[in-house]
């Protein structure tokens, strides 16, 4: 089949589906949907439809990015727009099917909005919602909308037309097009993609390799997982275009083993590509041949570093080496190799489909196009977003993300994961682009964005990141192996209330040495979270060291829990739930925590009913409360009356 024929057939099928008289139901079953219970919802839909004998088309789709509202179910009835329902549970499925599919009541109370051209009175348009309106979805263009397991749905939506176009151009022209788009590496470092390809193309040698880095190891980031699960072909098409431009013969996708669904969908996609001759010898009759092989990571963060990743593909310990030689000259098996990240490849296919100039019309002067971010932490609307470069951090957190959970105070946003930094409220106007973030001491990174509120201790967070990088340090170079260990020791003693007067200066000095002398990116960036927290939250370090106090009440060694005698009504819930039996009391007795037994797990604070709020957490100093249970003196219900 020629591409024209494949395309024609895909369009016919797609249109038949759009004009179907049968109701169509879409369930978001990417990993995040599943974690929220999407498979149980899917089962409930199946059951209800067969019980009522309704003939409907059920499609499992990926993630549209509204993770906070998972599980998501969309319904299309003939001649009606697609309606997206959020927070769906298996229990409400029978009612929803009864109300909308049978009785034509779209249940505006449960609907998030409509997708598509037409609208329904009383329902907002989904893409006009605050979370979606500011977004420009290029790499995520199909996510949550099409069936990721059906190549024809991708083709019907413009897929592989970028490849078809590239194959009609010369490899040099393809590279020019990518250069024109201004695309820079989305893995974090931001190296211009076109230039990288050109280096590899010009490298002598017949055998060249191309790698898709899907080893998304940053804790707190899930852009690549979501994209691979929701639209694998967008990434694969990009790889084919890159392979053609560079002259590569063999490609690899290196995907971390923690992403089983992404791996499964990629394998399925590769099989379908081969069936349509979009892979293998003489692709689409162009004379160009290319193969792609899946490689599963085995759990090592450092393998996200390109030279370590290639060692791992070769079956060795994934340890980085110094550059030069760069992979473009000597990479996998010593051959010229080009490596780009998942999101970069998905942008490549869009650029060839729609043109470099079109792509360059988004973003800022030096950072073109869009960037995806995984919003997580103490933010109201967690999820996956794609925004034009240059948007401010504040717009992302407040407009798109809906601000901080529980009306708490924003403290910091962490970009770039363990290689990035913690930026304070005063930086919320900062535009999101490679240069601005680097100047602020952080990095763009691959797109993890974790929001911290007043309950997060910044010293503890720095300690957390260091414990991660320290554990993941491969041990090859001394600055990283020993330097991060020593920094971690200092951070640990500070969070345990044993900080010493010159610890901040020691940390800064060590950080500078590790940053400037470590062998690879892991070590060179590991000090960033420490340096930025010292730069922006120095007072928190000082309070820990000088006053032995944690202002955020987060560092276990520096906090204590107490039960207030004037609030406790002796209900016994905390006594029952305390996992270490550190609480004593009795009916109508004020309960008491034995401080020597308490492990500070916080269960008592969680379970004490709001109407009493008798448990408090304090740091620095002690509260004077009875040491033995005493009779409750206040009359029952006092708290309720005053509240």
């Amino acid at each position: 089949m020629t591409f024209g024929e494949i395309h024609k057939q895909a369009i016919l099928e797609w249109e038949a589906l759009q004009n179907s008289e049968k109701p169509r139901i879409f369930v978001g079953t990417a990993t995040c949907g599943r974690a929220a219970g999407a498979m149980a919802v899917l089962e409930a839909i199946d059951k209800e439809l067969s019980r009522r004998n309704i003939d409907a088309i059920i499609t499992q789709v990926g993630c549209i990015g509204l993770c906070y509202a998972e599980p998501l179910v969309d319904i299309i009835k003939a001649n009606r727009p697609r309606i997206c329902y959020g927070g769906v549970s298996p229990e409400i499925i029978p009612q929803l099917i009864e109300d909308y599919i049978i009785s034509d009541n779209p249940r505006p109370d449960m609907a998030l909005g409509t997708i598509g051209e037409y609208s329904i009175d009383g329902l907002p348009k989904l893409f006009e919602l605050p979370m979606l309106r500011p977004q420009v979805r290029i790499s995520l263009r199909n996510c949550g909308l099409i069936d990721p397991e059906d190549i024809k749905q991708y083709v019907a939506n413009g897929g592989y037309s970028g490849l078809a176009k590239a194959l009609r151009m010369s490899p040099e022209e393809v590279i020019e097009e990518i250069k024109k788009s201004g695309l820079r590496g989305r893995g974090g470092a931001g190296f211009p993609t076109g230039q990288k390809w050109e280096f590899c193309r010009r490298s002598p040698g017949k055998e060249k390799y191309l790698i898709c880095n899907a080893d998304e190891g940053d804790p707190g980031a899930f852009m690549d997982r979501s994209l691979l699960e929701s639209d694998p072909h967008a990434v694969l098409e990009g790889m084919l275009i890159g392979a053609y431009a560079i002259g590569a013969t063999q490609g690899y996708i290196y995907c971390r083993a923690e992403y089983p669904l992404a791996i499964e969908r990629l394998k399925m996609a590769l099989k379908q590509m081969a069936e349509y001759r979009l892979l293998g010898d003489n692709m689409l009759g162009s004379g160009f041949s290319f193969q792609i092989e899946m490689k599963e990571g085995a759990g090592a963060f450092v393998c996200g570093e390109e030279t370590a990743l290639m060692m791992s593909i070769e079956g060795k310990r994934g340890m980085p080496r110094s550059r030069p030689p760069f992979p473009a000259v000597s990479g996998l098996w010593g051959k010229p190799t080009n490596i780009n990240n998942v999101e970069t490849w998905a942008n490549v296919s869009a650029i060839l489909q729609r043109g470099g100039d079109w792509y360059a019309s988004f973003g800022t002067e030096k950072s073109k196009g869009t960037k995806t971010f995984a919003l997580a932490g103490k933010i109201v609307r967690t999820g996956l977003i794609e925004v034009p470069m240059g948007i401010s951090l504040g717009d992302i957190i407040y407009e798109i993300g809906g601000g901080i959970v529980g009306g708490k105070r924003f403290k910091s946003v962490l970009t770039g994961g363990p290689s990035g930094g913690c930026l304070p409220a005063s930086m919320l106007d900062l535009p999101v682009d490679y240069e601005s973030l680097t100047q602020a001491g952080s990095i763009m990174g691959s797109g993890g964005m974790v929001v911290a509120d007043e309950d997060t201790c910044m010293v503890d967070l720095a300690r957390y990141f260091l414990s991660f990088t320290q554990a993941e340090s491969c041990g090859k170079c001394v600055p990283c192996r020993v330097g991060t260990r020593h920094m971690l020791n200092i951070l640990e003693r500070i969070t345990q209330g044993e900080g010493q007067s010159r610890d901040i200066e020691r940390l800064e000095r060590l950080a500078q040495v590790v940053k400037s002398t470590a062998l690879c990116g892991l070590g060179q960036t590991a000090p960033n979270p420490v340096l930025t927290t010292i730069r922006y939250f120095r007072d928190e370090y000082e309070t820990h060291i000088n006053e032995r106090r944690c202002p955020a009440l987060a560092c276990t060694a520096l906090i204590s829990y107490y039960i207030l005698p004037d609030k406790c009504e002796g209900c016994g819930i905390c006594l029952r739930d305390c996992p270490v039996s550190a609480i004593s009391g009795g009916k109508r007795m004020v309960h008491v925590i034995d401080q020597s037994q308490c492990t500070k797990c916080g269960t008592c604070l969680d379970v004490c009913p709001d109407r009493f709020s008798a448990v408090v957490k304090v740091s620095g100093g002690t509260l004077t409360v009875p040491t033995e249970p005493t009779p409750v003196t206040k009359s029952k219900g006092d708290n309720r009356a005053s509240a």
């Binding site: 980031a221 759990g299 079956g315 967070l461 996992p579």
Partner: protein, 149 residues
């Protein structure tokens, strides 16, 4: 075991870079990498046992001791950390009576701490076998574990 190994190894004959995938396949089939399997893999790939151990111990995925019937993995990624995953892990440790990296005496559960499953939007997250559980609380974690007892 020998037969299972021979079967797995045969499909990697002559392939370069096969060590990691071989270890993965063997662990999938046997649940962990017993010493005898390491010897056989080394022999087949013409590597020394220490080379095989060198690679296998480098990656977090590989186990060298028999594992429990159910693997419980508590995420300690950044988003989970900020949302209190340490307390979830402590609760699971108490509940199962084992530390991360350990297996219960009855070989029912193995516990691990993992940095990030990429379900950060639903933090804190716990994974039992292949099922991801989001929006965990101490109480939900206990109830989830009860389902596997």
């Amino acid at each position: 075991m020998h037969e299972k190994l021979t079967q797995i190894l045969a499909s990697y004959s002559g392939q370069r870079g096969a060590l990691v995938p071989v270890l993965q396949k063997v662990q999938e089939a046997l649940g962990y990498l017993p010493a005898e399997a390491i010897s056989e893999i080394a022999l087949f790939l013409r590597l020394s046992e220490s080379e095989v151990y060198g690679v296998a111990t480098f990656y977090a995925q590989f186990r060298f001791e028999r594992q429990g019937e159910h693997s419980v993995r508590v995420c300690q990624g950044t988003a989970c950390h900020v949302r209190g995953s340490r307390r979830i892990l402590e609760a699971v440790q108490r509940e199962l009576g084992i530390q991360p990296g350990e297996t219960s005496e009855d070989y029912k559960f193995s516990l691990e701490r993992v940095a990030c499953f990429g379900s950060c939007a639903l933090a804190p997250v716990m994974v039992v076998d292949k099922t991801v559980y989001g929006r965990m609380s101490i109480t939900k974690a206990r109830k989830t574990l009860d389902e596997y007892r």
